[in-house]
């Protein structure tokens, strides 16, 4: 039996039932996509196609279309490669490492973060493949015997280790992600109305039936994969860092690179998760599941990993002086004061200073600010790779060959193209896949759900509405509502009593009925015969629905007429969840539901 202390913030807001979770996650898949989705998808696709055009032009013309030269023979492409691989770290970290750390908040974000990981690794893989020149013999990076036309690979090269590390990481991530999806696909299959989608989701769900044995194997496999994936999270970016650190180039050859690259990767990965999720939760109305607390937790991860990266920058800077190696010192002086000082300055401000703002609770709980910082961090992390790669080699040991690197339109086009393809993939995912791990969320509903924590949920669970029976049941049935710690409970009770008394004193029965009638005047009379299902409105549970019905509110139309004034009146009549209706914008929700 799990316990959760009362002072922990709930992870699922409002009163949600098992069926609500299914409904909320499946609604966007089963309904029509909004116009905004088509617009965003179209733009991403166009940009992606442009990028593919650039790649084809590059392949047809030669690598000379990139801005590389004899001194800087590694720049934009490898920067993008490392940037994308870094972004591809968050998903598996969230699902594997946070699983081992038993962090329940991961359940709302792991699915979409893992999807992002996989797409980001795809994008990363593109760059070395293109750089090798002949895409169609890309399989030569594998150790294939010489008779197949390739040369036996060089096992001493960290670039080959990259091939193994990234392909292992990608395959484990995909398997991990897919295993988690199976029960959720089964739920969609059971609800699907069309024959095609039923068939498709049937194939995808591997014949999942939700029996105890399936769940048992499911949990076992998840744990084993988490154990496997955790060292992979560390190994991938460590090996990427070896690409530089094994060399003898000043600025590249430093021992702190492996752990510091890992920290930087997690840092940028979480920033990208924030960027995507803040849009996703709004667009798909998942605010009850991914809310301020989740954003705050992720911001704390960003703050911690950002600080680790900061410590590593300063360590490198100090040791470059302490070592007494003049080339090492020069590499760092050149970074900060040379022709690329602006890249260094951007890196420092975006990566070291901006995450420190997250120490302020107000800022790290502000969604708008978070969105802004998440983009700043991703820009900063792109510059970090650019600074490490380009500024370390553009002024090397031989001053006569010093040069600058300027990207060409092909360089920029290919990068933009990967952004386009990435977002197109992600939007496709958001449209056809369950973006939240339904089955996992159900396991924490009664431990961390708001209405279960504050005791406002009805004691008898209402399973109605969904219509899907066997896949619906949560795997962990033994969960009980958490008993709040005694002291806090007392305090909460005291406050509740006080509030109740105050309200009672102010509101006599007479006053109440007066308010009800004035409220009904504004909203118009309704009757039970053409009642809408008010529970669909987020924030309205069965209890609230019956209260509304008692007052005389039955339809979306009535709810849609509510303004601040009515909300207040409603609060004073119902005496529960003050401010709830306004916060959830019931009127707005009702309007949309009416138009459906």
């Amino acid at each position: 039996m799990h316990k959760e202390a009362a002072i922990r913030e709930p992870l699922i807001l409002g009163h949600k039932t098992y069926s609500d979770i299914t409904e909320d996650v499946c609604r966007p898949i089963e309904g029509k996509a909004p116009k905004a989705w088509y617009i965003m998808f179209g733009i991403s696709l166009l940009v992606g196609l442009y990028g593919i055009g650039c790649i084809l032009y590059l392949l047809g013309t030669g690598i000379g279309t990139w801005g590389l030269n004899k001194t800087v023979e590694w720049a934009w492409d490898i920067t993008n490669f490392v940037w994308w691989v870094g972004i591809g770290h968050a998903g598996t970290l969230i699902s594997a490492v946070l699983l081992l750390f038993r962090q329940r908040w991961r359940m709302a974000i792991n699915r979409s973060a893992e999807a992002m990981t996989i797409f980001a690794v795809f994008m990363a893989g593109l760059f070395p493949l293109i750089h090798m020149g002949r895409l169609w013999v890309g399989y030569w990076v594998m150790p294939i015997p010489n008779q197949f036309g390739s040369l036996w690979v060089n096992f001493n090269s960290p670039l080959l280790w990259d091939v193994f590390a990234i392909s292992t990481y990608l395959s484990v991530s995909v398997v991990f992600w897919y295993i988690g999806l199976i029960p959720d696909f089964a739920t969609i299959r059971d609800r699907a109305k069309g024959a095609v989608s039923k068939k498709m989701y049937g194939i995808l769900s591997f014949g999942w039936s939700g029996r105890a044995k399936h769940w048992n194997r499911f949990e076992l496999v998840s744990l084993v994969l988490a154990g496997l994936a955790t060292p992979l999270v560390f190994s991938v970016h460590s090996i990427v860092s070896f690409d530089f650190a094994t060399s003898v180039i000043p600025g590249w050859h430093t021992t702190i690179f492996p752990p510091y690259f890992v920290a930087g990767a997690v840092f940028s990965g979480f920033a990208m998760v924030q960027t995507l999720l803040l849009i996703l939760r709004k667009g798909m109305k998942l605010e009850a599941y991914i809310h301020t607390k989740h954003v705050e937790y992720m911001n704390i991860v960003i703050m911690v990993t950002g600080s680790i990266v900061g410590v590593a920058y300063l360590t490198e800077l100090f040791i470059s002086w302490y070592s007494g190696v003049e080339y090492e010192s020069y590499a760092f002086i050149n970074r900060a004061t040379g022709p690329y000082w602006w890249a260094y300055a951007s890196m420092m401000t975006c990566n070291v200073i901006s995450p420190q703002l997250m120490w302020f609770k107000k800022l790290r709980r502000s969604l708008l600010f978070t969105f802004f910082i998440s983009i700043v961090v991703n820009i900063g992390m792109w510059f970090e790779r650019f600074v490490i790669i380009v500024t370390s080699i553009h002024q090397d040991y031989l001053p006569s060959s010093w040069s600058m690197f300027y990207p060409t339109w092909v360089d920029i086009g290919v990068f933009l193209g990967t952004l386009g393809i990435f977002f197109a993939f992600y939007l496709g995912f958001a449209r056809y896949f369950p973006v939240l791990a339904m089955s996992e969320l159900k396991t924490i509903l009664k431990i961390s759900g708001e209405s279960y924590k504050d005791g406002s949920a009805p004691t008898h669970d209402d399973h109605g509405g969904g219509g899907d029976s066997h896949t619906e049941a949560a795997p962990v049935v033994e969960e009980k509502v958490a008993e709040p710690a005694p002291v806090v409970e007392e305090k909460v009770e005291e406050v509740k009593e006080a509030v109740k008394e105050e309200v009672k004193e102010k509101l006599s029965d007479e006053e109440k009925s007066k308010r009800v009638s004035s409220l009904m005047e504004k909203l118009g009379a309704g009757d039970a015969s053409n009642a809408d299902d008010l529970k669909v409105i987020s924030g309205v549970g069965p209890k609230m629905e019956s209260t509304l019905n008692e007052i005389g509110i039955y339809s979306y139309e009535q709810v849609s007429k509510m303004t601040d004034n009515e909300y207040e009146m409603l609060d004073s009549i119902t005496e529960s969840f003050p401010g709830r209706a306004k916060r959830d914008d019931w009127a707005g929700q009702a309007k949309e539901l009416m138009n459906k």
Binding site: M1, H2, K3, E4, A5, A6, I7, R8, L100, R102, P231, F234, S238, F242, A245, T246, S247, V248, H253, T254, T255, I256, F257, P258, P259, S307, I308, V311, A312, T315, E316, I319, Y322, S323, G324, V325, E483, A485, V487, V488
Partner: protein, 411 residues
């Protein structure tokens, strides 16, 4: 309070320390005439002084980590962590004394035929670091002057020690206060202080290791050095916590601590062993691969002169926890855990030995009565002090907001 040091425990501790002392004295007596005697003595005080201090400091870090991450399961073992951390008070005094003696003796050198040899800290010797006319003057060390000077060393060392001491005192005071007062105000304060400690520790653990340990080889440098020593420190602390936990369970204390708690501490030992091995490999592989003389000398010297200790400690600290602690059953079996913990503690002591001795003693370092004896004396003092802290407060905290989560911990 509920826990009393049993007379058996007392006897064992006193016996260990006494035997250690006898061995130590034998070690001194038999080595007095050797040229390296002084260096060897100082090196050992630095090794053991740092090793046991670091063990306690790692526990203090772990305590702060639990507060800052609002961890629930570990509340039931909080007093154990506090007890291990409490040794920082002694560790600080010992380490400061060692530094003071070395400072007064200008790096602790021995004079042989007019030459200064066998320093602990070469850079503290003016003949090497600042006297341009001397034949032994080393411009490489002189160039590091603003960092490697006694004044700066002492200013930062006192800041580090004061910080660690005050944070330990603060955490302990609030922990006991919470037992009496309850409420969430203390908890929130611990949360904030825990986060602050992590920030300071994040810097200090690196910078202090450069001064205290890396400067033993003043020509050599590595950016990862600080995190590497930190990894070893953390791992050792977790084993100390585990040993204490098993000892108390065996003697019938801590009834609310179940095998899930023990399993979790076991996981931490497993994870931190991997962390240390990862950092060892990163530093070693990159220097070995690039093969730059001034960097790789650090490893070639150790491999040539201390092959058994160098490879042996890597095997012990990596392979043993990996193979044995991989299985779930092993992490719940007190006998296996006890054996692994003792082995890991010895392995990490050998790691600290490898950080110091080759730098100070050159190729002359050995492990004899002197080393073993001093280790046992320190271990005795450490054990007595930690157990003594346990007697001062109830073993199970009260009123912690997550206490209930911890009491019902099951994995």
């Amino acid at each position: 309070m509920e826990y009393q040091i049993s007379s058996k425990a007392k006897r064992t501790i006193i016996a260990t320390a006494a035997v250690g002392l006898v061995l130590f004295i034998i070690g001194i007596a038999t080595n007095m005439d050797s040229e390296q005697f002084k260096t060897r003595l100082f090196s050992n005080f630095l090794i053991d002084g740092f090793f046991f201090f670091a063990m306690a400091l790692g526990a203090l870090f772990f305590l702060a980590l639990q507060y800052a991450t609002e961890t629930g399961w570990s509340v039931a073992i909080k007093r154990i962590v506090e007890a291990v951390a409490s040794y920082v008070q002694v560790g600080i005094v010992v380490l400061l004394a060692v530094f003071a003696v070395i400072s007064i003796m200008q790096g602790g050198y021995t004079e042989v035929h007019g030459h200064h040899v066998g320093h602990i800290y070469q850079w503290m010797d003016p003949v090497i670091a600042s006297d341009h006319s001397s034949a032994q003057f080393d411009s490489m060390i002189a160039n590091k002057a603003p960092f490697l000077t006694q004044t700066f060393f002492w200013i930062v060392t006192i800041i580090y020690m004061a910080t660690y001491f005050l944070f330990y005192k603060g955490f302990r005071k609030r922990s006991l206060q919470e037992d009496i007062e309850g409420g969430t105000a203390i908890h929130m304060k611990n949360f904030a202080k825990g986060a602050l400690f992590l920030v300071l520790f994040g810097y200090f653990s690196s910078t202090s290791s450069w001064h205290w340990l890396m400067s033993v080889d003043p020509h050599w440098f590595s950016t990862l050095f600080g995190w590497y020593t930190f990894g070893g420190m953390w791992c050792t602390s977790m084993t100390a916590i585990m040993l204490l936990l098993i000892y108390l369970k065996k003697n019938g204390y801590l009834e609310k601590v179940n095998d899930s708690h023990i399993h979790d501490v076991g996981k931490w030992i497993f994870a931190t062993s991997f962390l240390w091995s990862y950092l060892f490999f990163s530093q070693f592989m990159l220097y070995w691969y690039a093969d730059i003389p001034e960097e790789v000398i650090y490893y070639t010297f150790r491999i040539d002169n201390y092959p058994v200790i160098f490879w042996g400690m890597f095997m012990i600290n990596f392979i043993i926890p990996m193979l044995i602690l991989m299985s779930r059953e092993a992490k719940r079996n007190p006998g296996i855990l006890m054996a692994v913990c003792v082995i890991i503690i010895l392995g990490h002591w050998a790691d600290v030995y490898m950080l110091v001795t080759p730098g100070t003693m050159g190729e002359h370092g050995t492990i004899g009565f002197l080393e073993v004896g001093l280790f046992m004396v320190f271990a005795g003092i450490f054990a007595y002090f930690v157990l003594n802290t346990l007697t001062k407060a109830p073993l199970m905290p009260k009123n912690h907001p997550y206490l209930d989560e911890s009491k019902h911990h099951e994995i």
